[in-house]
Symmetry: C2
Subunit: 649 residues, 2 copies
């Protein structure tokens, strides 16, 4: 007996024999579902939502449960709320009737375009961790001096290292390693201070891992500590996403689940980091234990959760973090599976909402070393802004919401194949044409584009184009007076159809709704007004450079973003997209210890501006939400706009 199975949002469908697991069906259809544990009911990654209740009438024959029962092991993995919502593990759920299965973003695999590629950095190689090869005279009855002291003598004689201590884990294996290696050994020393590893014989490899914990993506850069070269880049979705898309919802999760919430989130990210470390090391045929040190950046909430610090207070006024300064913690104490005695260096943070990721950006972009006035905007779920130059730096944070990353947008999705990333609207016909990631062709309104949703750069394009075509009014409302089948009301909410059902992989029209416009208005309003207040704080009317950082920053269209008013108007050649500068900063700190001191000094130097304390912030914010903000004052922007919108990006 066969049943129909349909996967959402991909829309893929097939007939499968009764008893097939959902995971097997997905594999057959090429629907990517995460299942790292190999169907062992361990990883819990393959969560899907069974939606037969919402099954299109033509596809479902009855409303009874069309899947097998939850077994005990699955029961343990699923949370109560999940069970109530018909969430199941694809690997252990068998098909017993026609079903519609929704695959949440968090469960989807596939060739995500993670924009967190390592940037080019220029840094003097001066790592915290060095390796030294020594040969020792073996002990004898005349010279029965201890192994450690013997080793120190050799290190002092050969490399002038003195007053070394030794980690207790290394001490445990020291006698055996020295004897196995016939008194020839390679010693890994941290900060010329502590022995963190001893290996028999001569070992040249010396690697570290720089990690950038984003709210959405975690990226790791396996780095050669001798050459500075990036040996492997590994990234993955932040496993905490299943606990909440944005920082505030995760903080809320910790607060609502006082006993275990923080621990769950901490374990999730540590497991994620361990996976990255393992994959990165194994991709170059090394073991995670070969990673001698790790540097970490992340926003303040990610930072606190990683360290197991209650993040509640950074979510409440006055938003004081638990600490600003950088931390050095033994990997073992955090449960991070690199060299157990290896150090985890966590960069300092500036304020409750200006985190170590921002410090990383500063290290990479170095506004503090420039005479030129830089406005640095790191766009994520929060916008973190720094303005200044070598004389003075101020920072602030504004809640942009996750809209600019494609979340909280009706058809928002991350930058992955099938996501609309560029769009143009014909001002006369009001007909759109768009490109999806993974396909160079522009859409024609007829062809099946396998479109799945709209990513961050796509939504900016869409909204800028909708405004230019008059579909969005200055106040953000959708002009329903316009005659087009694409402009319609869905209940009381106006929307614009970007892709007809026939073009999509998800079996429904893809639209931009008034709610989406409002979400983007809030984001761009926040960024823009924050920029203005920062400039006023420093008493300047214009900056010399605009550095836009963030995974997001790589894909947006400079012109469209300026049209929308995401950042103050300036000459386009002043605008630089600096990519994942936070991750670059983590690599810099990994490769050069002096940069850690620089980061520390920087974090202390940057003055934090609390926007909530600015009397006119709400007024400026309200103004900045208008469309388009800058045209009146900087009409030359309009000239830059071409129908193809070939900006400088």
């Amino acid at each position: 007996m066969e049943h129909t199975i349909i996967f959402q949002p991909s829309g893929r469908r097939a007939h499968v024999p009764e008893g097939t697991t959902i995971l097997d069906a997905a594999r057959k259809l090429g629907v990517g579902i995460e299942a790292v544990c190999g169907d062992n009911l361990v990883c819990g990654k393959c969560r899907v939502k069974i939606m037969e209740g919402e099954f299109p009438k033509e596809d479902i024959t009855s409303s009874i449960r069309h899947v097998g029962k939850v077994d005990e092991k699955e029961m343990e993995i699923l949370k109560k709320k999940e069970k109530e919502n018909n969430v199941r593990l694809a690997c252990s759920t068998s098909v017993l009737g026609d079903v519609l299965v929704f695959v949440p973003e968090a469960t989807r695999t596939g060739k995500q375009i993670i924009s967190k590629a390592a940037g080019k950095i220029k840094v003097k190689i001066k790592p915290a961790v060095k390796k030294y090869y020594v040969e020792l005279p073996p002990p004898s009855l005349e010279d029965p001096y201890g192994d450690f002291e013997r080793l120190c003598q050799a290190l002092e004689a050969t490399f002038n290292l003195n007053k070394l201590s030794i980690d207790c884990r290394v001490l445990q294996v020291l006698p055996d390693v020295l004897r196995t290696g016939d008194w020839k050994a390679t010693v890994t020393v941290w900060q010329n201070r502590e022995i963190i590893r001893v290996q028999a014989g001569r070992v040249e490899t010396n690697i570290g891992l720089a990690i950038d914990i984003g709210t959405t993506t975690v990226a790791g850069y396996l780095t050669d500590l001798i050459t500075g070269e990036v040996l492997a880049t590994e990234s993955m979705m932040n496993p905490q996403v299943s606990y909440g898309e944005d920082v505030m919802s995760r903080i809320t999760y910790c607060m609502l689940n006082e006993e275990t919430g923080l621990k769950e989130l901490q374990e999730a990210i540590i497991e994620g980091i361990n996976t990255i470390a393992k994959n990165a090391a194994e991709s170059v045929e090394l073991s995670p234990e070969d990673i001698s040190e790790m540097t970490l950046v992340g926003n303040t909430a990610m930072h606190h959760i990683l360290l197991g610090i209650n993040p509640e207070y950074i979510g409440l006024a006055p938003f004081a973090p638990a600490l600003h300064k950088s931390m050095d913690i033994k990997a073992e104490r955090l449960g991070i599976q690199i060299l157990p005695a290896g150090n985890i260096h966590i960069l300092p943070i500036i304020a409750g909402f200006v985190g170590a990721d921002n410090v990383g950006c500063l290290l990479a972009d170095t506004p503090h070393k420039r005479k030129k006035m830089t406005l640095l905007i790191d766009i994520g779920t929060n916008g973190e802004l720094v303005l200044g130059n070598r004389d003075k730096l101020i920072s602030c944070s504004c809640a942009t919401g996750p809209a600019l990353e494609g979340a909280q947008i009706e058809f928002g999705m991350r930058a992955a194949p099938g996501a609309i990333e560029k769009m143009r609207i014909d001002k006369k016909t009001l007909e759109p044409t768009y490109q999806v990631i993974g396909n160079d062709q522009w859409s024609d309104g007829q062809t099946d584009m396998q479109t799945k949703g709209i990513c961050g750069s796509g939504i900016i394009d869409a909204i800028a184009e909708m405004f230019k075509a008059g579909i969005i009014k200055k106040n953000g409302r959708i002009n329903t007076d316009l005659k087009s089948p694409r402009i319609r009301m869905e209940g009381i909410v106006a929307e614009y159809v970007v892709a007809w059902k026939r073009e999509t992989a998800i079996d429904e029209d893809i639209v931009v709704t008034l709610k989406d416009v409002r979400a983007i208005q809030l984001a761009k309003g926040a960024l823009y007004s924050a920029s203005l207040i920062m400039m006023r704080k420093l008493g300047i009317k214009q900056f010399d450079r605009l550095a836009v950082a963030g995974a997001f920053g790589n894909h947006i269209d400079k012109v469209q973003a300026m049209v929308m008013g995401m950042y103050p108007d300036c000459d386009l050649d002043k605008v630089e997209f600096i990519g994942n500068a936070a991750g670059d900063g983590a690599r810099i700190a990994l490769l050069n210890v002096d940069k850690r001191r620089e980061a520390h000094a920087l974090a202390g130097k940057v003055e934090y501006v609390e926007l909530a304390l600015e009397e006119d912030f709400n007024d400026r914010f309200g103004e900045a939400m208008q469309f388009p903000h800058m045209f009146d004052k900087f009409p030359h922007v309009e000239d830059l706009l071409s129908p193809e919108g070939e900006g400088a990006s």
Copy 2:
């Protein structure tokens, strides 16, 4: 139905209903059996040996198994070898017939006289850990500075503490603790360097724990870090005893059980330390977490095993230890359950067989500060000797074996009630009289003394008296030509009956055998010849002080020991019994950080003499094994001997 149960070595017996567990029977009879887990089949402490095969004929009616079967849970706890030897857990073994149960020393509780009472020490109070009370201004939007930095500002302003770091465990609770205490907090700081605890409000208590890990006994001194007072003394048998009575047998256990041996031994001692910490803290109504720091001494093998270092190489020439220097390790990393961020300071060691316990002795006895020449003998399973003064110190170690502690002696036992501790022998009748611990009366050969065995001081008395009565010849043989029912042959081994069966609690005669004499000869020969070689090394003929340390040292008779030739002859007023100096040293290091530096300097200063390298060691050793060694050269010792042997102890 009732059965007879007899406990060995106490000899207590009773009739109990069928099905009674051995543990319950023991409790009813007042036979002390360790059972810390409360009969939960977890701790495995209540191991007993079922001996119905050796049951006296009049007490047993059949040779079949008279106890219940081993169940699964018990099976897991018992080692293979134990099962073969009829070892069972008293808590889960029920009586199904008449049984004889042997309670091994390791299983016995009861009022052991542990001679590890804290000695008087004189030390300036300057602990590594101090507590500071601060009140902080709460954060505000105008001043949203981080909690840690806020705390540091207050500590700097009030106490001039700067550049503090914070342990990651403290950081985790910092935000909540500060807010709970309404921004008033007590901060525990280690070495004026690291914050290791934050408590809400004002807390005055500041305590530490000094631990002395002996091969046989572990002692802990809970110490007030403000007054220096000992708040509680806790001691227990070293739980490693079940893996081997002496150091070498434990090292062998590690070598034979490569995978798990070391880990088992390490876990055993850590569990022991945790028990001591818990009991000590709870005895003064505190929690183990209130213990802010711990100092530890122990011989090199105990030191290595505690740290999880393979001890194999300290048991093999050239006996090189893994390290000499002191270690500071977070309690959490060792699994020691005091304050998780608290420090464990392990004192330095001198050589493979001269351990941190000896360094502790030096700290307590301070020979390095005296002009007078001191011979310091720390008697344990190994003898550790130091000779010298403020100009020079040399040390050596000799294998005394456990005989002087009462082990490897046929009827040897630790100093506990029922142990013979003093003995005299009438030179004419060859009849002995003795005292047992816990009873002031001298024996008369008839009265039931509830005698159980002979402890260390008893065996020295016995052998010195046997020699003086002519029972032992100069070469150590027992003179079987003498006419006495007490001198007899047991197979091919001669023995002397100290107590008739009727006087004992163990239902058999207590004897001193030729083997016992040999074991003592080896021990005293080693100590004596080591002393001589040390003196020769320093070119001296006499010392000014003889300091005898060790739990053992408290109970021996100065004169008898000198008669036996345990240490070189000297005026009795030069002899000081300094008690558990190792433990005193641990307390000194706990109370004063400068003393840790002193210990470090000391460990480096003491020159180690490897006796095995001395050409004539074997000759000297052979000579020193004779009885009595010193009479020819120092006949005045003979004058000191009185029949009652009232020495100066």
